[in-house]
């Protein structure tokens, strides 16, 4: 995996009041105009979740990968995207994944080749990331946006030149 400016690394820990997560691996998506680090975090003796990081913003996804049964054409920036009877999100971006790199251990991960599209949609703190491969089903993760100070990271790359 090529170097990036993330301050997280495999072995970083985030300490929430109820639970501690340890980052055990990551999948990095290089998108057309952005990057996304999907950090796989292990907790409670073997469970895993994904923590998605991009330019200092974070989302935490506890849900399993879920099939999205509606049309891909509905997954557009600025459009309403209903994922359940009580959750409707607004599309924020559609980006093609140009590169994919893996490191460490990962939980379930449905895409191993770049070329698929990524859509993120949010409403308030609720968010979802959709992966669209025209030849496959649409899978998504749903979770919450969260600020880095709430995640209380430990064992990070210090980047002292920015302090």
């Amino acid at each position: 995996m090529p170097e990036d400016w993330s301050f997280l690394k495999v072995g970083s820990v985030c300490e929430l009041p109820q639970q501690t997560f340890t980052l055990v691996g990551r999948c990095r998506l290089q998108l057309r105009n952005e990057y996304k680090n999907f950090w796989c975090a292990e907790y409670a003796g073997g469970k895993c979740l994904y923590l998605v990081e991009s330019f200092g913003s974070f989302s935490i996804f506890l849900s399993p990968w879920t099939d999205y049964n509606k049309e891909a054409s509905k997954l557009r920036a600025g459009k309403s995207i209903k994922i359940s009877s009580d959750v409707t999100l607004t599309g924020e971006y559609v980006e093609k994944c140009e590169g994919l790199s893996f490191e460490g251990e990962l939980g379930p991960w449905p895409f191993i080749k770049p070329g698929f599209f990524v859509v993120q949609a949010s409403a308030g703190s609720k968010t979802a990331v959709f992966f669209i491969d025209p030849k496959k089903n649409i899978d998504y993760l749903s979770g919450e946006k969260i600020t880095s100070d709430r995640l209380n990271f430990k064992n990070i790359i210090e980047w002292n030149e920015w302090k």
Partner: protein
């Protein structure tokens, strides 16, 4: 992470994504006032200047400069400069929560109004970019809402929707943050679109303070009115027939008690479609100090075109403030008309007056009125470059 960068030697803009390796060249070269690689601290966060662009608006063809700033813990931000006015702008996770109208909305207690919508092109880029700034700028429609010193910017393209929040920075703040001499930064022209005007004084505070002082004034007026003695110290009737050889009346002496207090002289005449004039001289019996005042009383009435009318009054009043205690008399030099031959005067000590109240009220109103007039002028100037000016209908 880097998706585009320029060559330090030839200045060519290279895209380094997986599938797009195209290049862009720019006609001219420009020197950023904040050199690439410079670090600066804004709101406690150390940013490095990674990229510099000059963007040109596509309708009115004005251009501005944008610096791409980066911090590994906070992500990226933009520092934009136009006519010497600076804004620091951050991408935000969620847009304004209460935005229900296209033209304006309230957020965090501030009123944000649409200032501009535009499309832009990058006419120059230098440095390193985490996105293809040239293509992204080309494909994006921008809307900016201002609530000085803050702003919200919405960038929309077919593929993305991004909200940013910005805040005005003075050149001194920018120079201090990046440790560059302020004289190196472009000079300010006009009013920046997010520049706070008369920021030290909040309109709400002015209104609140004015009302508070008004209440105090009213309370003081009630107090002085309630405690004023309004004691009649002299009352006398005078008739022209009483004048023989002398040309003036002399009242008996009367005593004014206490220290310096007000004195009110009522003059009552029975004039009807006539006039009365008197010169009055209040004289201290002990010191001979003299205070002279005149009163011109006119009263006319009639019936014209089916309506009755009146003009003037048969009563006159003279108010003398701060008259020291002592023994006084009044010399009255009257001028009678052909039909008016009598008058009465009533002298009252310690009378409350409304004039001080109204003078103070006018003086009190000067500051807020001046403030709002000045603010209005500056706001009109701020909005003069906007297609969405709330003042447009008044100016047209």
């Amino acid at each position: 992470m880097t998706l585009a960068m320029t060559c330090p030697s030839c200045g060519i803009y290279f895209r380094v994504g997986q599938w797009d390796k195209s290049m862009t060249t720019f006609g001219s070269s420009y020197e950023p006032v904040l050199p690439l690689g410079t670090k600066g601290k804004i709101e406690g966060v150390v940013y490095e200047v990674m990229g510099f662009t000059i963007k040109k608006e596509q309708k009115y063809k004005y251009d501005w400069r944008e610096y791409l700033l980066f911090n590994p813990f906070q992500g990226y931000a933009f520092l934009s400069e136009y006519d010497g006015h600076w804004n620091i702008v951050w991408p935000i996770e969620n847009g304004p929560t209460k935005r229900t109208a296209e033209s304006d909305f309230y957020e965090g207690g501030l009123h944000y109004q649409l200032y501009q919508k535009y499309k832009a092109k990058v006419i120059y880029a230098r440095g390193e970019f985490f996105f293809d700034v040239v293509d992204l700028t080309d494909s994006t429609q921008n809307s900016e809402y201002i609530g000085p010193p803050y702003m919200y910017a919405l960038e929309v393209s077919d593929d993305s929707l991004l909200w940013c929040k910005g805040e005005y920075m003075t050149p001194q703040e920018v120079a201090s943050a990046f440790n560059v001499p302020v004289k190196n930064l472009p000079g300010k022209k006009g009013i920046g679109y997010t520049q706070p005007v008369m920021a030290g004084v909040k309109p709400g505070a002015i209104v609140g303070l004015t009302f508070f002082i008004l209440l105090v004034l009213v309370a003081l007026q009630f107090f002085f009115s309630g405690t004023a003695a309004e004691k009649i110290v002299y009352q006398g009737n005078f008739s022209q027939t009483m004048l023989k050889d002398q040309k003036f009346f002399v009242t008996p002496s009367f005593q004014l008690d206490g220290g310096s207090k007000s004195l009110n002289i009522d003059i009552i005449t029975p004039v009807q479609n006539d006039w009365f004039f008197g010169e009055f001289s209040l004289i201290n019996d002990d010191t001979g100090t003299e205070i002279i005042f005149t009163k011109d009383i006119e009263y006319y009435q009639g019936y014209e075109d089916g309506e009755s009318w009146t003009e003037g009054s048969p009563y006159g009043e003279a108010f003398l403030s701060q008259i020291p205690g002592g023994k006084y008399h009044i010399n009255i030099y009257p001028e009678f008309s052909t039909s008016s031959h009598d008058f009465t005067i009533v002298v009252k000590r310690d009378v409350a007056t409304m004039s001080n109240f109204f003078v103070t009220l006018v003086a009190l109103a000067l500051f807020p009125v001046g403030f709002f007039i000045r603010k209005n002028i500056l706001e009109k100037r701020r909005w003069s470059e906007s297609d969405y000016s709330p003042y447009a209908s008044y100016e047209d």
